[in-house]
């Protein structure tokens, strides 16, 4: 076999050639898949908004603004409007209290804070336990459901903590974290709600100035 000898120049050259080829082919595939990946992300986001606040006719993505919660999480707020009237908001909320890492939830609320629907976007919870949160808090069984409830009027914590929501069996930590994300969304939104109308106009002014 004509194997090349393991001399230093041979080895360096071989690895150099291989890394160069790898690098350039990765760059090529990256360019190729960049747009589809971005499109897939955007589509996912839009579908999530549609699911949690149905019936809008504006483009919530373009009217998105950011709010910072007391915990310093940056929440994205997507206002959903129908014929110019605010019918609800979709809030992308985060919590770091998950069983393993962060949980991202899209919460849909009416302008007064009543929960319309939610969708779990990202999490690393235990399969078969914490992952059940995707449907658990929507299911109308016992005190599971948080839909149509109001975080200001109903105590949306798990029963163990004196609240009125049934936790997922064997996944209390994930349940707590999930409800925390909802709470973060609600408190951050309502805290800014009074200022919200002026805040949005304000940002618009600022944007105007920049232009």
């Amino acid at each position: 076999m004509g194997k090349r000898a393991s001399t230093l120049p041979n080895m360096v050259l071989t690895l150099l050639v291989i890394t160069a080829i790898s690098g350039s082919s990765l760059g090529f595939v990256y360019q190729l898949t960049k747009e589809p990946i971005a499109a897939a992300r955007l589509k996912k986001q839009q579908e999530a908004i549609k699911e949690v606040v149905p019936g809008f006719d504006n483009d919530p993505g373009s009217e998105m603004y950011e709010l910072t919660s007391a915990e310093n999480f940056v929440l994205k707020v997507f206002p959903a409007k129908k014929e110019g009237q605010l019918i609800g908001v979709a809030i992308e909320s985060i919590t770091n209290k998950g069983f393993s890492g962060e949980i991202k939830v899209m919460v849909g609320m009416k302008p007064d804070g009543t929960i319309i629907n939610y969708k779990v976007l990202e999490h690393k919870e235990t399969p078969g336990l914490g992952t059940k949160m995707a449907d658990w808090f929507k299911t109308d069984k016992g005190n599971q459901s948080i839909l149509e409830k109001h975080p200001g009027k109903n105590k949306l914590t798990v029963v163990k903590d004196g609240g009125e929501v049934d936790a997922i069996t064997a996944a209390t930590i994930s349940s707590r974290a999930f409800l925390h994300a909802i709470e973060v969304a609600y408190t951050t939104y309502t805290k800014n709600a009074d200022a919200a109308t002026s805040a949005t106009t304000q940002t618009k002014y600022e944007e105007g100035e920049e232009q």
């Binding site: 080895m11 690895l15 291989i18 897939a40 078969g128 336990l129």
Partner: protein, 194 residues
């Protein structure tokens, strides 16, 4: 070597999971459902075939002392390509497997085949070997995933067989993977003896 034998050895005689016990990390990690197992198996098959192909082509140009880093580089490149393509065109599958895709790089099965087979055989045999080994791996993962999904959550490929409340939760979790895998290997070994 007979190419059919070369292909079929990956399914039973030299099955990566049941006989060689290679690539245990993704095996135990992703097989909480049959669909995840199949997806992971097919992704690994692609990487295995491509890596075997490239390694067998360039084997004569790579000095012996740097062959392992060279193989790892080739494998890592293909894994990253698979990751980007999945993310772009099958985002749903990427969501459930995303975490485990980069782990294909350290799947000893892929490096093992590059080292033990592709670096000693011609291109055609190496592709056949990669395909057989990969599909055998995919089959084993799907079997394990099905068992865990049926016992743990009462479903198969997402189709409900019985209410989830009656499922044995342990099979969805990590210990269940070890238990199911242990029994599966025992069964296969018994069949082999017969």
């Amino acid at each position: 070597m007979n190419q059919w034998k070369n292909f079929s050895k990956g399914f039973f005689k030299e099955n990566a999971i049941f006989s060689l016990l290679l690539g245990m990390c993704p095996t135990l990690g992703v097989t909480s459902s049959a669909e995840n197992g199949l997806g992971m198996g097919l992704a690994t098959t692609f990487v295995l075939v491509m890596a075997n192909l490239v390694v067998s082509v360039v084997k004569d140009f790579i000095p012996d002392k740097v062959r392992i880093p060279a193989f790892i580089l080739i494998i890592a490149t293909f894994v990253t390509i698979v990751e980007m393509i999945m993310q772009a065109y099958v985002p749903a599958l990427f969501e459930s497997l995303g975490l485990f895709i980069p782990l294909i790089v350290v799947n000893c099965l892929v490096l093992g085949r590059a080292e033990a087979f592709a670096s000693k055989n011609n291109v055609f045999s190496s592709i056949i070997d990669g395909a057989g080994m990969g599909l055998g791996f995919a089959m084993a993962l799907t079997m394990l995933g099905s068992i865990r999904e049926i016992l743990g959550s009462g479903k198969i490929f997402g189709i409900t067989l019985y209410p989830e409340d009656y499922g044995m939760l342990v099979f969805v979790l990590a210990p269940g993977a070890f238990i199911a895998l242990g029994y599966l290997i025992a069964l296969i070994n018994r069949l082999k003896k017969a």
